[in-house]
């Protein structure tokens, strides 16, 4: 009988204790962060989407080689000796046209391994983490600052320069061969009986 009344008392009393607790919480400040409107401060060393500052990139391909998942693809074209590409912010001279600098964030594993080897510190992690897409192709970000026409131009420039060089080489070689031929002919005329000396 004592237990019975004790149960009633305990039941009612504990309900009121619980109600007091919940009532207090009715007026405590909520901990909700209204996400798209209010964002939490991200930690200092967070690793999110990469960014490449193309003004500083020298196209050395170090980051692409460091990448464990091969998500960075870089193509470069040598600049002409007459062209001045400027300097990077830490004073390095640029020598290559970076015609393609693509990072596929669908593949990227956010390991930050590409950031360390960069000699000009132009590839780094940003605090952007909201970049979902409906199509996977859209996650393949292109960072190059050159327009397709410019890329074509640089490529053709380089090809022309190469061709010129090759032509020069060929001409030089032809001239040399011609010279050698003439020399040979002259030699043959003067000393036809001493071919061993020529070999030496």
């Amino acid at each position: 009988m004592k237990e019975y009344f004790n149960n009633i008392w305990l039941g009612l009393f504990t309900v009121f204790v619980g109600m007091k607790v919940t009532f207090k919480h009715l007026f405590t400040r909520s901990v909700t962060i209204q996400y798209p409107d209010v964002k939490l401060q991200l930690p200092e060393r967070e690793r999110n989407r990469l960014y490449v500052n193309m003004d500083d990139c020298i196209g050395c391909d170090q980051c692409a080689r460091a990448c464990p998942v091969n998500c960075i693809s870089i193509e470069t074209v040598k600049s002409l000796p007459t062209e001045d590409l400027g300097k990077t912010s830490n004073g390095k001279k640029k020598a290559l046209w970076v015609t393609k600098f693509n990072i596929d964030f669908a593949k990227c594993c956010y390991c930050q391994l590409c950031v360390y080897p960069c000699p000009t510190e132009c590839i780094y992690m940003t605090d952007v983490f909201e970049f979902s897409e409906f199509e996977r192709e859209k996650l393949d970000y292109s960072f190059t600052t050159l327009t397709p026409e410019e890329i074509e131009e640089k490529k053709s420039n380089f090809a022309a320069a190469e061709a010129e060089k090759a032509a020069q080489k060929l001409a030089a070689a032809a001239a040399a061969a011609k010279k050698a031929e003439e020399q040979k002919a002259a030699d043959n005329k003067t000393s036809g009986d001493k071919p061993e000396d020529k070999k030496e």
Partner: protein
């Protein structure tokens, strides 16, 4: 009063009665359901230190409107192997049960749907229709969870009707009336005339009544909470064990009807508690209309007080929901049969003795 006014306005008894019977639905139940769903979500959120709906309108005030629009647009799915006629009737029956209870609830001295002498009895009796509807829904869905929920609901509601009735009987013994308007008129004046504080009698008898009245109030509040299947007595729709109980298979507007019925029921039982113990539509502190001598203001004030009391008890129901964990089936039955019913009986005897003496 409203009926006479409508009769004069339309000149037809049928039209007047029809409009009067629709008034609580459109003026009260639907806006109340809209408000109560939002209140529920906000109260539950803030009790858990969250914010609740924030993005539809200012602080999410249009959330329930958006919900309703969504529910109206939804496809009405009827399971292939269900008992289709019963499946379709069940939500209507449940809603009818809870809507019919509003017929006898006195919103103010000027408006009561039907001023019948058996008001309290009518409300308790017609609420039984809800059980039939729930059992029908659970059984017709042909799903083990719904059937389990429906069986639990039937067991629970039927056993908890006993303490409710016993407490109401206590009040009837004191006042000698089942008419809710008369009951409210008895408790007129100031708050010390309320039943919870011993009723309109004066002297030592009033003091003797107070403990019994408090016990009666606690019992009727607990048992009505169980009757409307609210936490901690929500085992019929226990979402962590039975998906959502008897309305698992319902979608769209039929689900909305269950929802509406649940909230209408919540208010109906709160209204009974308010009408029986807390003076019904009577103001606790006198009327502004009386002091200013504007007589038409009084019914409006009464409506305000009645709604305020009802909504307050609905709020307490929500408050309890986020305080207490759900009871097991055996605990539920033990609470009813071992605690509430014996205490209600003893209470009935004590009040009877005091009344006789």
């Amino acid at each position: 009063m409203i009926y006479d006014f409508l009769l004069k306005l339309t000149g037809s008894e049928i039209a007047a009665g029809f409009i009067q019977s629709l008034l609580p639905l459109f003026v009260f139940i639907l806006p109340f359901a809209l408000f109560a769903v939002l209140l529920e979500r906000k109260v539950s959120a803030h009790m858990q230190d969250r914010l609740g709906p924030m993005r539809t309108g200012y602080h999410g005030i249009l959330q329930t409107v958006a919900d309703i629009i969504k529910l109206v647009q939804k496809e009405d799915i009827v399971p292939t192997n269900s008992d289709k006629p019963l499946f379709n009737i069940a939500p209507v029956l449940v809603f009818t049960g809870s809507y019919a209870a509003f017929a006898a609830i006195p919103f103010s001295s000027a408006f009561i749907g039907s001023n019948i002498d058996l008001g309290l009895f009518f409300i308790v009796a017609v609420s039984g229709l809800v059980v039939a509807g729930i059992l029908m829904a659970g059984w017709a869905s042909n799903n083990k969870y719904t059937l389990l929920g429906a069986m639990r609901s039937a067991a629970q509601v039927i056993s908890y009707e006993i303490p409710t009735m016993l407490v109401i009987l206590t009040i009837v013994m004191m006042t000698g009336t089942l008419n809710l308007t008369t009951l409210s008129e008895l408790q007129t004046g100031y708050f010390w005339n309320w039943m919870i504080l011993g009723g309109p009698v004066a002297g030592l008898v009033k003091l003797a009544f107070i403990p019994s009245m408090f016990i009666g109030f606690v019992i009727i509040y607990i048992s009505t909470l169980a009757e409307v299947n609210r936490t901690p007595f929500d085992i019929p729709e226990a979402e962590s064990e039975l998906v959502s109980g008897y309305h698992t298979e319902y979608s769209g507007m039929k689900f909305a009807m269950f929802f509406l019925a649940e909230y209408a029921n919540m208010f109906a039982v709160s209204a009974i508690v308010a009408a029986v113990f807390f003076g019904g539509y009577q103001s606790p502190i006198g009327y502004l209309g009386n002091t200013l001598d504007i007589l038409w203001l009084i019914p409006i004030e009464q409506f305000f007080w009645f709604t305020f009391k009802g909504v307050f008890f609905v709020f307490v129901q929500m408050w309890l929901r986020w305080t207490l964990p759900r009871l097991r089936v055996d605990q539920l039955m033990a609470l009813c049969w071992k605690y509430l019913i014996p205490i209600a009986f003893v209470n009935l005897l004590i009040v009877g003795l005091i009344t006789v003496l």
